[in-house]
Amino acid sequence: MSTINVKVAAVEEVTPLIKHFRLESEDGADLPPFSGGSHIVVTMDAEGRTYRNPYSLMGSPSDTRAYHISVRRQESSRGGSVFMHERVQVGMRLKITHPVNLFSLSKLAHKHILIAGGIGITPFMSQIEDLKAVDADYELHYAFRSYEQAAFVNELEEKCEGKLYCYADSQNERIDLTELLRHQPLGTHVYVCGPSPMVVAVLETARNLGWPENNIHHEEFSAPPVGEPFKVQLARSGIEVEVPAEMSMLEAIEEAGVAADSLCRGGVCGRCELTVLETDGGIQHHDHYLSDSEKVSCRSIMPCVSRTKGKRLVVDL
């Protein structure tokens, strides 16, 4: 995968938990344009290990001077967001991938309902720019814990010109999903990005109301879940890799120096799919890529997010 060398041009604390980074290309050239909803994978070289985390691009797709990402500090995480918060400073060099879009707007939609929870607002920041550029009909529904902890509300209010609806948990404000989705005109598409329960609620509500699958979009980058440590044997490379509790199988394989293909690192795109040759305890599938029957068959695993329940796994790599 080709990468771009960038330098950190600005860091801003948006809320106590969220930092905003402005990235410019190292040589000062323009960065590639992108489409709203795209993400990049940032490679972080910490002592002893490498983190690769996907972050949505939230700037305007037409501004190719810089990319903007926002990172929420996840205390429970395995270190990537903590590294971004504590170690990354202005002037620092980072490697990023070219933008990839796995959460794109439907160009045929007559209306777009965007639903964000917390830091899930980021992909919508760039999508709104695309929607405004073609004068599309849209609404942005943004739920967060409290106004103090909510990022970019003022900026969005200005940008969205009356199309922003905010819901603060602290003030007992909730999105009534059934009410919202029941009265939308034909040709409406709904997009959700946020914590898992919110995503599930939107998907279920829309489906129960008879929305076609093609009109329902979600982005759910699972950070690789922690789990029990296990060993994975790479049959073709002939080596065995220890996967610690707080590291994903893909990360452990990469640390061992084996080139594994990957793209989104969030269980969405399917690029890192590995064939399972042997398992002594079945697979904990955390991805959104394999079908239910494929998951049951345990013949494939997405090492970016999934693990084994057993002690040992043999894969064709």
Partner: protein, 346 residues
């Protein structure tokens, strides 16, 4: 590098010809003695100097005549260009990709000057100079996709990505191997490949689609495809089938070497950045069997591939009427020598 552009035709008197250099760089598609569909997709990386892979879009000695032939086809049937309204962002993406690459790779022929959103494009071989505003289609004589597509060899289709598949939602198609843009516009990946035999059983289509859905901006890919065409005719469209089908009957032992052309498509796929669409380029190279036989290695290989080609493929590629003449003619070059893997001429 300075090319001498041929003055030649792809219809009527068929004065098309390949120079020895053009034959030598012909993208011969067979590395083995047997052929079947496969997911033969590889990175569209910069290839050897002088090869058809040297640059993003290959411009060769046929450039001027081919663009002229394209304009004739479009004039006779404007339906060879189609773009659904939601593809306008992809159209500009395409124009930018093509202008940037061509100006960068062939500075002696093409120049792109940008002054903010006001761009000036110079195409010396076709004697075109236009200044326009990027993003404003009214400042160009055609829609941006058609404008640039007319100045390039080969066909282009813009694919919109949605519903977990790719839709052929725009195209400029004048040198196609018997498929109709007007009929196929708006079709999904599975639908437009509907008539291709064998691929479903082989699972080739699903795997290729999975791959393409994840195609990245900086990592274009390519593959070769092939068929055969009587006379060096670019426009072998179903629309004009009544004009060219009859030529198949003209093939016999005496004419086969001149009339039958190996038609190779260099297919390239690029992710477009602003629209997230994919551009599918289909560049056609033609070489008569006599051209191919310049290199005995190619003639032997082609003979073996044709001899055991699956009957469904012979039928699908429309070769049934004359295929035996091809095999008989090529047999004279095949001494049975074992050929190592590879499509190189010598």
């Amino acid at each position: 590098m300075q090319l001498n552009f041929n003055d030649e035709s792809f219809r009527d008197d068929y004065s098309y010809k390949n120079s020895p250099e053009a034959i030598k760089r012909f993208p011969f598609p067979f590395s083995e003695d047997h052929y079947m569909y496969s997911v033969n997709i590889e990175p569209h990386a910069k290839g050897a100097k002088g090869s058809v892979y040297e640059y993003t879009f290959d411009v060769d000695e046929h450039y001027v005549s081919e663009c002229l032939d394209k304009s004739v086809t479009l004039e006779q049937d404007p339906g060879r260009y189609a773009a659904l309204p939601h593809m306008m962002t992809a159209q500009w993406d395409f124009l930018e990709l093509a202008m940037t690459a061509m100006a960068n790779d062939y500075p002696e022929y093409f120049t792109l000057t940008k002054n903010g959103n006001v761009w000036t494009w110079k195409n010396r071989p076709l004697e075109i100079i236009d200044t326009f505003t990027f993003g404003d289609a009214t400042t160009l004589p055609y829609e941006p996709f058609e404008y640039m597509g007319r100045q390039m060899q080969g066909d282009f289709v813009l694919l919109d990505q949605r519903d977990g598949t790719l839709y052929a939602d725009a195209g400029i198609v004048t040198s196609q191997a018997d498929w109709s843009l007007a009929f196929n516009t708006g079709m999904s990946w599975q639908e437009w490949h509907g008539p291709v035999p064998k691929v479903t059983e082989l699972g080739v289509l699903d795997r290729a689609l999975k791959y393409l859905l994840n195609l990245q901006v900086a990592n274009p890919v390519r593959r070769l495809n092939w068929t055969m065409t009587i006379n060096p005719r670019l426009d072998t469209s179903p629309e004009n089938y009544p004009l060219w089908a009859i030529d198949r009957k003209k093939v016999n032992d005496e004419t086969v070497g001149d009339l039958v052309n190996l038609r190779v498509e260099l297919q390239t796929l690029f992710r477009l950045p602003r629209s997230n669409a994919i551009v599918f380029g289909i560049r056609c190279y033609l070489a008569s069997l006599k051209d191919i036989a310049t290199y005995p290695r190619w003639a032997k290989r082609l003979h073996r591939v044709q001899k055991d080609l699956h009957p469904d493929l012979i039928e699908y590629k429309g070769m049934t009427t004359y295929h035996r003449y091809v095999i008989d003619w090529l047999a004279q070059f095949d001494d049975g020598e074992v050929l190592e893997y590879g499509a190189h001429p010598e």
